[in-house]
């Protein structure tokens, strides 16, 4: 049970709420118990975009989309725009890996009426250490994964050590997905990225087929981090609610957009006609 430090009113929150506003006196309230101990974030990236800028950037984004119905977005229709610190896990991975592959190069030349093809097959082996930084995962179950990850990436050079004061004036959520919940997913992703990196060191082959790839995690470092997100709830003219998330650091917006079907189909038909006519012209010219 939490009480407003200003007016003493009871604060009713979700299980994961870490910062909110008093329903009665509207003063910011940080639920310090939810951002301490095992839930104490290691790092935070503070908001650099304020509410007004967020609103402008959102409308700018919405208006830049050519296939959104005309006059669909306007300032008055924005139901709610809130600055929220969402919890994420950010992992750095050090791995050791080896890759065995078969590389193939072909060289073709002609002499008289004969075409020669020289095939050279190589045994390709790579061993090395792989370092992957900032593999970022959403740490809140109720978040839409698409909206939570759609605002990534953040500029981590602006990361700060966590301090409760950053949360004041914003909403905040604590994580309910622990490191252990995400461990397998992160390791899986890390292996995929590491294999791709090893493979990229074996360029210069016309064809490369990987026979085996072993990867062992040597070291991993996880940070529980709060990232700034503006959430926008928008009531469309069609009566449907649209939800958007905006990176609170750089203003990148992510969310489903309404589509003016007629505009899209007209464009599709125009492209169909142009390609069809060009195709016919090409056939006629040849």
């Amino acid at each position: 049970m939490y009480h407003c430090p200003s007016c003493g009113a009871q604060i009713v929150t979700d299980q994961t709420t870490a910062a909110a506003f008093c329903y009665y006196c509207h003063n910011p309230v940080v639920l310090s118990g939810r951002v301490s101990g095992e839930f104490l974030p290691h790092k935070i990236i503070p908001f650099t975009i304020d509410k007004q800028q967020a609103t402008e950037k959102f409308l700018e984004y919405a208006h830049s989309k050519k296939f959104v119905p005309k006059a669909f977005f306007n300032k008055q229709q924005i139901e709610k725009i809130s600055g929220v610190y969402f919890p994420y896990w950010m992992a750095d991975m050090d791995m050791r890996g080896s890759l065995q592959a078969e590389g193939k190069n072909l060289r073709v030349w002609r002499s008289g009426d004969t075409e020669y093809t020289e095939t050279k097959i190589y045994h390709v082996e790579r061993r090395g250490n792989i370092h992957l930084e900032d593999i970022t995962k959403n740490a809140l179950k109720k978040n839409s994964l698409k909206l939570a990850e759609g605002v990534l990436p953040y500029d981590v050079s602006k990361v700060k050590g966590f301090h409760m004061g950053y949360l004041s004036g914003f909403l905040a959520e604590k994580c309910d997905l622990g490191r252990s919940d995400l461990q397998a997913e992160v390791v899986e992703d890390a292996k995929e990225f590491a294999q791709r990196l090893l493979r990229e060191t074996a360029g210069g082959y016309g064809h490369l087929s990987v026979n085996s790839c072993q990867l062992q995690t040597q070291q991993e470092h996880w940070d529980y981090i709060m990232l700034p997100v503006w959430t926008v709830t928008y009531k469309g003219r069609d009566g449907k609610m649209y939800y958007y998330s905006m990176n609170g650091q750089n203003g990148k917006v992510y969310g489903e957009l309404p589509v003016d079907g007629a505009k899209v189909w007209i464009l599709g038909i125009v492209i169909f006609m142009v390609v069809f006519l060009l195709g016919l012209l090409g056939g006629w010219m040849l």
Binding site: K65, F67, G97, G103, R110, D113, T114, E115, Y116, T117, E118, T119, K120, I121, Y122, H123, V124, E125, R126, R127, G128, N129, I130, H131, L132, E133, D134, I135, K146, E149, G150, V151, L152, D189, F193, A194, R196, L197, T201, A202, E256, L257, V259, V264, W265, L267, G268, I269, I271, F272, V275, F276, L277, G279, L280, G282, G283, W284, M285, L286
Partner: protein, 281 residues
């Protein structure tokens, strides 16, 4: 006096009318002459019935092809060889660009076929040999009408079966290779290909936009180039096998490139190109 003046005026008027009409008549008579030159039996080798049959054949061929067809026999080539004589004859009497002349030259004892304009793409070197073979078989037995009929028969066969679009001319004088000017047309397969491409392009646009706006694809991708690095401890590229395979390049059916048959052509004294050939008998 008045009478004399009137007579003079009438005479002058008549002269003027005659003068004005003369070129028209001359032109008409030249045209008529050309029309009557489909078969010319200068050597008197053909009977009236044979001539009629050949004339009928020539008219049929002209109607079917739209070309000029001529058949000629001569016993006096005026010092020219059979080829030059036939070319000059065609030049002199044709009113068209395209056509074929088959001739029996008793003076040089030679049979000849020459093709002009579009017909050159049909009367290829191979076809010329077949036409001359057919003619030679008959002329050897002194069947003159049959010679011309056989040659015209092979010309007709060439028209029906040759694919002129694929054939090409080889100018013996300049070494130039001339492809058949393709008729600009659109085939059904080209329409279908254009339609397929248009459906793919239009469909990709529509579904691409719907998909992007409705978050069906796109979104965050880990920036592996920026956030990942690898330091290699082992880098081995060992050649384990090397071999060379060879393949015979299929020969093209002609030296002109792109297939098709060759028609060797040369430019006659009249400045007109023609294909064909001749054979002594």
């Amino acid at each position: 006096m008045k009478m004399i003046k009137r007579c003079l005026t009438m005479a002058l008027l008549l002269c003027m009318i005659i003068f004005c009409m003369t070129p028209v008549q001359a032109e008409e008579s030249a045209q008529q002459a050309a029309e009557n030159m489909q078969l010319t039996d200068q050597a008197g080798l053909l009977s009236e019935t044979e001539a009629e049959e050949i004339n009928h054949r020539l008219a049929e061929l002209e109607e079917r092809t739209g070309w000029e067809f001529m058949a000629l026999t001569t016993d006096d080539a005026g010092g020219e060889d059979a080829t030059s004589y036939a070319e000059s004859w065609f030049d002199k009497y044709t009113g068209k660009d395209d056509g074929v002349i088959c001739a029996i030259d008793m003076d040089n004892r030679e049979i000849v076929v020459r093709a002009f304009g579009e017909a050159m793409y049909y009367i290829t070197d191979n076809r010329t040999e077949r036409i001359l073979d057919a003619g030679y078989e008959e002329i050897s037995e002194e069947k003159h009408a049959a010679t011309l009929q056989a040659m015209l028969g092979e010309v007709e066969d060439a028209y029906q079966t040759e694919n002129a679009d694929r054939n090409y001319l080889y100018d013996e004088d300049t070494g130039e290779v001339i492809r058949h000017p393709r008729k600009k047309s659109i085939t059904l397969s080209e329409i279908l290909i254009a339609l397929g491409l248009a459906i793919v392009a239009g469909g990709a646009t529509v579904f691409g936009i719907f998909g992007k706006y409705r978050l069906k694809f796109g979104g965050y991708k880990y920036p592996i180039e920026k956030n990942g690095r690898v330091s290699l401890t082992t880098k081995e590229d060992r050649l384990v096998n090397s071999f060379v395979t060879r393949r015979q390049i299929p020969k093209q059916t002609s030296s002109g490139g792109g297939g098709g048959s060759r028609s060797a052509v040369h430019t006659g004294s009249g400045g007109r190109r023609s294909s064909g050939g001749s054979r002594k008998f």
